[in-house]
């Protein structure tokens, strides 16, 4: 089909933790791709055409064919390039271990972003509630991590990819939520640091101060004091 580009393209937005999941997965597999920063206030033809249902980033285009939703994209990357990349798979091969990985990635999706948003968007009672919830969520995740170096066990895996971009938001959660991840969840903090030493993570996460700055800008834009 005319105009369909070969190879991998990622439609994304610089600070999006969902987009970063995809960037990390691509880098973990050493897959070359073209990064296309999107203006979310003025969405491109390509974005609207590639994700007509949600009109959201990230979108992975593989030889012009779109894959949408970050965790679906990560699984696609893992499955479509399993033999060619020569790198370990992000999802384990054992069905039960896979189910556990999917469960925890789903938990991150259901809980972290929403609660985090309420932390900086609200004040008073709702903010207090969000603060309490965030600590619970982080402790639950810390429990799932246990004594393992990664959620995936000895290897960096699917749940690590799903959750690690949010570690760049810890500073923002800490400042708005007045919580200390180091104090409340030391093993989780250690995991975040360990992941940060990986090139794929180091290269793709937004610096925490930049995330905080971005949220400050958003708040002003939406007139949230």
């Amino acid at each position: 089909m005319a105009g369909e580009k070969k190879g991998l393209q990622l439609l994304d937005f610089w600070v999006s933790p969902f987009g970063q999941r995809c960037r990390i997965a691509l880098d973990e597999k050493a897959l070359p791709y073209e990064y296309l920063e999107q203006d979310l206030g003025n969405k491109s033809e390509l974005l609207l055409r590639s994700n007509p249902v949600h009109k959201k980033i990230p979108v992975l285009l593989h030889d012009g064919r779109p894959v949408c939703e970050s965790l679906i994209i990560v699984q696609y990357i893992d499955e479509a390039f399993s033999s060619s990349s020569g790198k370990p798979p992000l999802l384990p091969s054992d069905p039960y271990a896979r189910a556990q990985a999917r469960f925890w990635a789903d938990y991150v999706d259901k809980k972290v972003y929403d609660c985090g948003t309420r932390l900086w968007k609200t004040k008073g009672e709702p903010q207090q509630q969000a603060r309490k919830e965030m600590v619970e969520i982080l402790k639950t995740l810390e429990g799932a991590l246990g004594d393992k170096p990664y959620f995936g066990g000895d290897e960096f895996g699917f749940v690590d990819v799903a959750f690690v971009p949010f570690t760049a938001w810890f500073l923002t959660y800490e400042r708005y939520g007045e919580i200390s991840v180091d104090k409340e969840c030391p093993r989780l903090a250690a995991w975040a640091k360990r992941c940060g030493e990986r090139e794929s993570v180091n290269k793709n996460l937004s610096p925490p101060e930049k995330v905080y700055e971005f949220i400050g800008t958003l708040k002003k834009k939406f007139g949230i004091e």
Partner: protein, 235 residues
């Protein structure tokens, strides 16, 4: 023959999420023990098996618990890969599409339907109806795209999306009597309407779907309870 393994499903008869697990097990011809939970008085086993959410369904396979309906269905497909139908396609791109539409059903379709029937204000319900119309239209397109003229989202045989959407069939049928709404109106969504009939009639499916009368009765009871609560709260 499959069934020598220890399979237990903790569920609640009216839950569409539980129905998904039952459909997957049935389509793959797997034997299992079903345990009906009283959600107002959850069993030790349920609380121990799903400590994070305390919800049904939970599938316990050889003593190990799997939670969340979409995770359970994929688990059943993978742990019993050699048995019965394959629910997820083998091609990575088609798998991504199947997962996308399954997620869409949970993220967009269900909330829209809930809003349209149980929204607290006229406005909310009207908004829900509008959103439902859009989501059904998208799903109709999805069926066209995924089935490629064949009977199911999965093609010749039912697959992952069929199971995920199929979980809602009981309530889809009950909806007309309860709210005068036809979620898969043949005029608006002819492919989905035909799909609902076809899927619902499958030998592995029709004995598993809860009876419409029971669902209607349950919904009316819940509505009465909510109304009583609201009236009481006003005092």
């Amino acid at each position: 023959m499959a069934g020598a393994e220890d399979l237990k499903l903790l569920g609640m008869w009216a839950s569409p999420y539980v129905l998904r697990a039952k459909l997957a097990l049935s389509l793959k011809g797997l034997n299992y023990e079903y345990v009906e939970e009283d959600l107002k008085n959850k069993s030790e086993l349920l609380l121990k098996s799903n400590p994070v959410h305390n919800k049904v369904p939970v599938l316990i396979h050889n003593g190990k618990a799997v939670c969340e309906s979409t995770v359970i269905v994929q688990y059943i497909d993978e742990a019993f890969a050699g048995t019965g139908l394959s629910l997820l396609p083998s091609d990575p791109y088609e798998r991504a599409l199947a997962r996308f539409w399954a997620a869409y059903i949970d993220d967009k379709l269900l909330p829209a339907w809930t809003k349209s029937s149980r929204g607290k204000t006229e406005e909310e319900r009207a908004e829900g109806k509008e959103q439902s119309a859009v989501t059904v239209e998208n799903l109709e397109g999805a069926l066209r795209e995924c089935s490629k003229g064949k009977p199911f989202f999965g093609g010749d045989n039912p697959g992952y999306v069929d199971v995920i959407l199929g979980g809602l069939l009981g309530w889809v049928r009950a909806s007309e009597e309860l709210y005068g709404i036809k979620p898969f109106d043949p005029a608006m969504a002819p492919l989905l309407a035909a799909w609902a009939e076809r899927f619902g009639a499958l030998e592995a499916v029709h004995p598993v779907i809860p009876e419409v009368n029971r669902l209607v009765e349950l919904a009316k009871m819940m509505q009465a309870m909510l109304a009583a609560e609201a009236a009481g709260a006003g005092n």
